[in-house]
């Protein structure tokens, strides 16, 4: 698993990247009440906003850590946005994308480097 400076994580399996927000980010946001998901089939460039996450008192954009096309979205978040708080790197995943440039993965941070940015 790798991380972006904007607090997203990426799990790469073949051409498919699963994306969510980090435990740190979920904690900072507090009680998450709504996740605005992109449509299946939409395409995003790296570092562009692809969704928003609302908590009780704040709202935050989610940035694409890699470029690609959305193949799946986590529909369960509609009914249960709290999953992002409870299990941000598991059941709280946000989208899966078919990546367009595998090299972007190398640009992402490893866990230690990411943790350093949070301090």
């Amino acid at each position: 698993m790798k991380f972006s400076k904007e607090h997203e994580w990426v799990k790469l399996e073949g051409n498919t990247a699963t994306i969510g927000i980090t435990d740190y980010a979920a904690h900072q946001l507090g009680d998450i009440v709504f996740v605005e998901l992109p449509n299946k089939g939409s395409k995003f460039e790296v570092n562009k906003v692809f969704g928003t996450i609302e908590s009780v008192k704040t709202v935050s954009d989610v940035y694409a850590p890699m470029s690609g096309e959305v193949t799946e979205v986590n529909d369960e978040l509609d009914a249960n946005p709290a999953l992002v708080n409870e299990d941000p790197t598991g059941k709280g995943w946000i989208v899966k994308i078919k990546i367009s440039d595998p090299k972007e993965y190398d640009q992402l941070l490893d866990e230690a480097a990411y943790k350093a940015t949070c301090e």
Binding site: D31, V33, F34, V56, N80, A82
Partner: protein, 482 residues
């Protein structure tokens, strides 16, 4: 204390009001209205008059209000709402006139509006006023539409509005509504606009600068003259957000500081009641070079006769379906007449006195990030209590247990754990002293027994509410359960 919902008090067959007997021959609606447009069902509870009166009376007792106690909510100017103004607004000659009456039948109302315009122009140092905007945010929108119309007419290609990072949330939101991009300007270590950052952002595409002065920290920006010249040097316009006008009334005027457009909040500075969140009124004033852009109709006075001018070449149009929130304006004029020039100036003087007194007294126990004379409000930070696990929110909630309303919290955004206090001039020294004692007591509790704060409030009709579930599964309509 829980009050049943109106819908739980429903008993079919009860009536709270009886109409006079129908005195005309009747027709069958089904003969005149196609069946598909005839209503099949209407859900609405039935209560008697007394039950209705009791329900709402009981609900009213679950509110904190200015009439009950101190309400130091910063940037909201929760001053006393004089009772006589309510009587004046309810005079039949004001309450029972229709907006479509001919001008000749509402000369008193038009004169009242014109007089209010004159007084507000004098207080702000502006040349013309529109009373149309229904609230502060609505005034901002109106002012920005005027700024845009000015630049459009001159063929200026302007894209940006500069806003200090201490600004109200409505400022950037209003800019977006008229299609301007927002550029945030930093504050300096005195809490004022960072002149260097402003200079760096002054470019030809700047349409204007939108600020409050004093700002949301309650601090007067003494560089305002220089700020104005900088903005004017690129033909930008200066917008004055009047949320904090209660600090300077009769002492200095936005028009003299170099502002081109001003909005006021009659529900703040001019004592009209906040009504639980509205209605307000947000008149906008402009300098002469922007007069032509004001919304129509204009109220015209000729030989003591008043008429409406409905069209004007350069007007932005209209921002409200009527001339304004008339009865709110009536109350504001009554306030100005009662106080007069000396009373209005004194109101600001004592508002500033009260704020400085409170700040000085609280400085011993709380961290004051900008330690200088404030105007009508000031900001302290709750961050020093973090080591006891206490947040500003906890202090705010504990205040409720003592019968006070909390200050504005977590605003402005540039102060960590912010608490913003605005006592207003109508509060006595006794009230302030009582409140200061409680603030000191709470500070002590935070250190010695922080659970009292974290579990607060306990004396209120309800305790802390589950806002997360409220937002996740919104129950916002009795008839459609989530």
């Amino acid at each position: 204390m829980t009050e049943p919902l109106l819908f739980e008090l429903d008993k079919k067959g009860r009536r709270g009001y009886a109409l006079p007997k129908l005195d005309v021959p009747t027709v069958d609606p089904a003969d005149h209205i196609p069946t598909k447009f005839l209503r099949k069902q209407l859900n609405m509870p039935s209560l008697s008059e007394l039950e209705t009166v009791r329900h709402f009376t009981r609900l009213s007792r679950m509110n904190h209000s200015v009439d009950v106690g101190f309400y130091p909510l910063g940037s909201c100017t929760m001053k006393y709402n004089p009772k006589v103004n309510e009587n004046i607004a309810r005079l039949p000659g004001f309450a029972n006139i229709h907006p479509h009456q001919n001008a000749n039948s509402v000369q008193g109302a038009l004169k009242l509006l014109k007089t209010t315009e004159k007084y507000l122009a004098e207080l702000t140092g502006m040349d013309a006023i529109t009373l149309q905007p229904a609230a502060g945010a609505h005034g901002e929108l109106t002012g920005l539409l005027i700024i845009k119309a000015y630049h459009n007419k001159k063929g200026n290609n302007k894209k940006k509005i500069l806003i200090p990072d201490s600004g109200h949330g409505t400022n950037p939101a209003s800019c977006t509504m008229v299609g301007y991009e927002v550029v945030n300007i930093k504050s300096d270590n005195r809490g004022c606009i960072d002149i260097e950052d402003l200079k760096a952002n002054i470019t030809q595409d700047v349409a204007g600068l939108m600020i409050t002065n004093p700002n949301t920290l309650g601090l007067f920006d003494e560089n305002i003259g220089e700020l104005a010249s900088l903005v004017h040097s690129v033909d930008g316009l200066l917008y004055y957000d009047g949320a904090n006008f209660n600090a300077i009334m009769g002492w200095t005027r936005p028009g003299d500081m170099g502002f081109d457009v001003v909005h006021l909040n009659l529900h703040k500075t001019f004592s009209t009641p906040h009504g639980g969140g509205g209605p307000g009124s947000g008149p906008v004033g402009v300098k002469a070079h922007l007069k032509e852009f004001l919304p129509t109709p204009f109220i015209i006075e000729e030989n003591n006769t008043y008429s409406l001018k409905n069209e004007n070449d350069d007007t932005i149009g209209a921002v409200l379906g009527s001339l304004g929130n008339f009865s709110v304006i009536v109350k504001a004029l009554a306030y100005m007449m009662y106080n007069g020039k000396e009373g209005l100036k004194a109101a600001s003087a004592y508002a500033v006195l009260n704020a400085n007194y409170m700040m000085k007294k609280l400085k011993d126990t709380y961290y004051v990030p900008y330690d200088r004379f404030c105007k009508h409000e000031f900001v302290i930070s709750g961050k020093t209590f973090a080591k006891h696990g206490v947040k500003t929110l906890d202090i705010a909630k504990r205040l409720l247990d003592f019968g006070y309303h909390s200050p504005t919290i977590y605003f402005p955004l540039i102060v960590e754990e912010a608490m913003m206090f605005e006592p207003t001039e109508t509060e006595s020294k006794d009230t302030l002293d009582g409140f200061i004692d409680v603030m000191e007591k709470i500070a002590k509790e935070a250190v010695e027994n922080s659970d009292l704060l974290k579990n607060a409030p306990v004396t209120t009709p309800v305790r802390r509410l589950d806002e997360a579930t409220a937002a996740r599964k919104p129950d916002i309509n009795f008839y459609r359960k989530p």
